[in-house]
Every structure is written in C-alpha cells, then in structure tokens.
C-alpha cells in the first residue's frame, strides 16, 4: 500500500533552548494544508582540475530542510482565551516575532461608561489606566454600538489622557459603555523573536523530526468571500530547521479545528474609510540567517531572523478621487491605519490592525469585471506595528 498524502500531519512545540528537541505529541498537532517539505543537499563545486573536460561532481557538505505550508486563519475558540503558550498557531506567530498577549479577564470587569467620545475616538473611564500605548492593538467593545461582534472595534493609539483612537469613523459619537473584552492577541514585538521551535511532520507512515526550527517566510492573506467566490483566509508559512531524526510511524488522526471565519459580514477600513476590495495581505518579509559555528554538525548555530521588512498589499475596488485620493496620499507619505474584522463566534472573531502604514502608489487594473486598484502599504514601526487579535464576547 502506498502512503496517502491526506495523512499529512504537522506538530509544533517551543524548545526550551537551542539544540534541544522538544518532541511534538498528538496534542501539539494542528491542521495545515499544502505541506511541501524539501530536503536539499548543501553543495559546493569542486574547483580542482581533473585532467579532462569531465569535472567531478559537486561535494555534498550537509543538508538544508525547509517546510512550506498553509494554515487557515481562525481563532482558538472556547469560552476563554487559552493559557499562555498553549495555542499551536500562536507558537508560529511567536516564532515570527509576535508577543502573545493573553487578556483572560475583561477590562474593566464590568462594562463602564465612556468618559467622552467623538466620531473616531473615545475616552475610557476610571477602569482604564492612564498609561500611554498600554491598550494599543487590543479589541474594544463599544457595548451600545450595535450587537456584538459589530460593536467591536480596535485601538489604533492610546494616550495618557485615556483617549483611544479608533480605526473607523462613526456617523455619530459612540455612547454608552465600553469594555476591553477577553482576548488572545498577537502584537508584533520590537524585540527579535527568541522562540525556537521543534517540529514533526508525518507523511503517511513516516515521521520526520526537526529541531531548531525558525520561520523564514510568513504571509497572512485575507481574501473576501462573495456569492461568486469563497476563499479561506490563510497564513503562508515557511520553516527551516535541522533533521533531528526520522522514524516509521503512522500519522495521527487530527481533531478538526472547527469552522473557520470568512472575510465577509465584518469590517474593512483603510485610512478610516470602509472600502470594498477583494483582498489584503501582510508579508513579514523575513530574512533568516545562520551564524557560522564550526563546533556544530551543520557548521552553524540555529537560524535567527536577522531582519524583517513588513508590507501590506491591497486589492481594492477603484475609488473616486472625491472619496479618497490615493495618489495624494502616496504623495504625502503620512501614516494611516488599516483594520479588518470578521467572524461571528466568540473566540473565532479575527481582528487585524496595522496602526500606521504609508501608501505606495496604487495601480488601477481593469482586467477583470470590476476596475480594481492594487498597491502596497509600507510599515516603518516595529512595536505593535501589526496586531492580530481574537476577541471573546
């Protein structure tokens, strides 16, 4: 019997230290798609003369392992956020450089009245701290502003005066109570990731164990689902590591991760304007490096992310100049927010916020049924520059 591709399983754990394999068990496995492992020899061309036109083959010096796959964007679900470190997709996000921020209890414990509000900002009350930046990137529930999750918004900026800037503009200033709900948040850290992963993947009846696994590429794509075309929102991930061992072992049967939220019936705001469009993506622009070390079997220490260049790509419906002048925005090179939120079930709502990004020029594209405009937004900031949050209602 040949091995079945459908019996492909990936498990991920966080290592205690570099070089120490932390074997993933059944509870560390999570559904993925389109797994593409590659094991390539590290080669060097033999420069020696051979006395003939026929040169010797390249020397095989070592091996390089990479693992590309897709993971569906969904929240952890359940009634409350999982304990720190437990959620498997979160381990990947931590390895990219996100900080996992667990807000296990709503703040304040009971919703309280807004101290003040304008159409695009609110002033929090006594139950909120007067600490600048503290709540930036977190989801905020404006309780009287519709039925949740419609009442959820996000905090683009927060000042010591307790004013929370919002990524959307309301028709009238919000009234009533607010609460920062329970949530599991991934906020990009200014510091480099110190998380190294161990990974095992099963292909049918063979298990491959990888140690010192680091992320070499990470992209999140959010594609709108319509009556014509539905798509999952996906993380595209590439990992690199060292083969720790292999074994003949049957793939485990995965527990389904549950329904995924689709990018519709939610919010998509660019520069504080709700816009139509087919998709946006966030590319972390990761560069992975290997510090040379002849003491190691591979000749190097574990891979480290040495830099990232973070870019957002947008495909929007073309907008009237009177609605939003994108050329003028690119000319001005100011900072603008992007916010998307979708999903309906508590713990499975996805809120994605980029508080500050600059517009590159957007190119019009009439090649499809509708005129679209495509272009990038560039991110300069590091700390909390990309915020992915899963609120609980």
């Amino acid at each position: 019997m040949a091995d079945l591709s459908q019996k492909t399983v990936l498990g991920i754990t966080v290592q205690a230290s570099a070089g120490t394999y932390n074997a993933p068990g059944v509870s560390d496995c999570y559904p993925i798609a389109n797994l593409r492992p590659t094991i390539n020899g590290v080669k060097v061309t033999n420069p020696e003369y051979s006395g003939t036109v026929h040169k010797p083959g390249d020397a095989i010096v070592g091996k390089k392992v990479s693992l590309s796959f897709q993971m569906v964007v969904r929240g952890p679900g359940g009634a409350t956020p999982p304990a720190a470190g437990d959620w498997i997709p979160g381990r990947l996000l931590r390895a990219v450089g996100f900080t996992e921020v667990v807000t296990a209890a709503a703040i304040p414990a009971a919703a309280e009245a807004l101290a003040a509000a304008d159409t695009d900002n609110v002033t929090l009350g006594d139950g909120a701290a007067a600490t600048a930046d503290l709540y930036r990137g977190l989801a905020l529930n404006l309780v009287a502003n519709g039925v949740a999750p419609k009442s959820l918004t996000s905090i683009v900026a927060y000042g010591a005066d307790k004013v929370a800037q919002l990524p959307e503009v309301f028709g009238a200033a919000p009234v009533g109570n607010y609460q920062i709900p329970k949530q599991l948040s991934y906020l990009l850290s200014a510091a480099e990731s110190t998380v190294l992963l161990s990974s095992s993947f099963w292909l049918g009846r063979v298990r491959y164990n990888l140690v010192d696994v680091a992320v070499s590429a990470f992209k999140a794509t959010f594609t709108a689902s319509t009556q014509d075309s539905a798509s999952y929102c996906l993380y595209d991930v590439t990992l690199e590591g060292k083969i720790e061992s292999t074994a003949d072992e049957n793939a485990t049967v995965l527990q389904p991760a549950g329904p995924a939220p689709f990018f519709k019936d939610g919010d998509f705001w660019v520069d504080k304007l709700a816009l139509g469009g087919s998709s946006f993506s966030i590319d972390m622009g990761v560069k992975l490096g290997y510090p040379p070390n002849p003491n190691e079997a591979d000749g190097n220490d574990a891979g480290q992310i040495v830099e990232t260049t973070r870019t957002v790509s947008l495909t929007l419906n073309q907008q009237l100049k009177a609605t939003k002048d994108f050329i003028a925005l690119a000319d001005a090179q100011g900072y603008h927010s992007i916010w998307a939120q979708f999903g309906q079930a508590s713990g499975n709502i996805v809120s994605v916020l980029i508080p500050e990004a600059r517009f590159d020029y957007q190119s019009p594209d009439p090649s499809g049924d509708f005129v679209t405009q495509q272009g990038d937004m560039l991110i300069d900031a590091a700390d909390k520059a990309i915020c992915i949050t899963f609120p609980y209602l």
């Binding site: 966080v14 720190a84 996100f98 296990a104 503290l134 510091a191 480099e192 110190t194 700390d383």
Partner: protein, 65 residues
C-alpha cells in the same frame, strides 16, 4: 532557600514571548513600576533593547525665520 529563590519559585513563569495582560493592566492601575511588572508578566529577553521609533516621513513646512 534564599528570599530571592523563594520569590522566583512563586513568580509565574510564562513561556517566552507571552504576556499576562491583566497583570500589566493591574500594574498600570496601581502605578507599580512597569519594568518590574513586565518582568513578572513575561520573560524579558536579555538582549531586549529600546527601539528607535522611525521619524515620520511627513514633510514639515519649512520655517521662514
């Protein structure tokens, strides 16, 4: 066991790269030293350094003075 060791034994050890936000919020509300609160709320990488926020690329109007 030393006092410091006892304190370390009691302190919650979160996985690297994780933060207990309710603890941070409580520290902010009670004016606790945020650096100490942060140390209890997560493991701070030793090499963590302050990061320079990029200056805005917005062009300021030149002064005529």
């Amino acid at each position: 066991m030393t006092t410091k060791a006892k304190h370390m034994a009691r302190a919650p050890q979160l996985p690297s790269g994780c933060v207990d936000f309710n603890k941070l919020h409580h520290a902010a509300m009670t004016n606790t030293d945020p650096v100490k609160a942060l140390a209890g709320a997560r493991i701070v990488p030793a090499q963590e350094k302050p990061v320079v926020t990029p200056a805005s690329t917005k062009q300021e109007t030149p002064s005529n003075g």
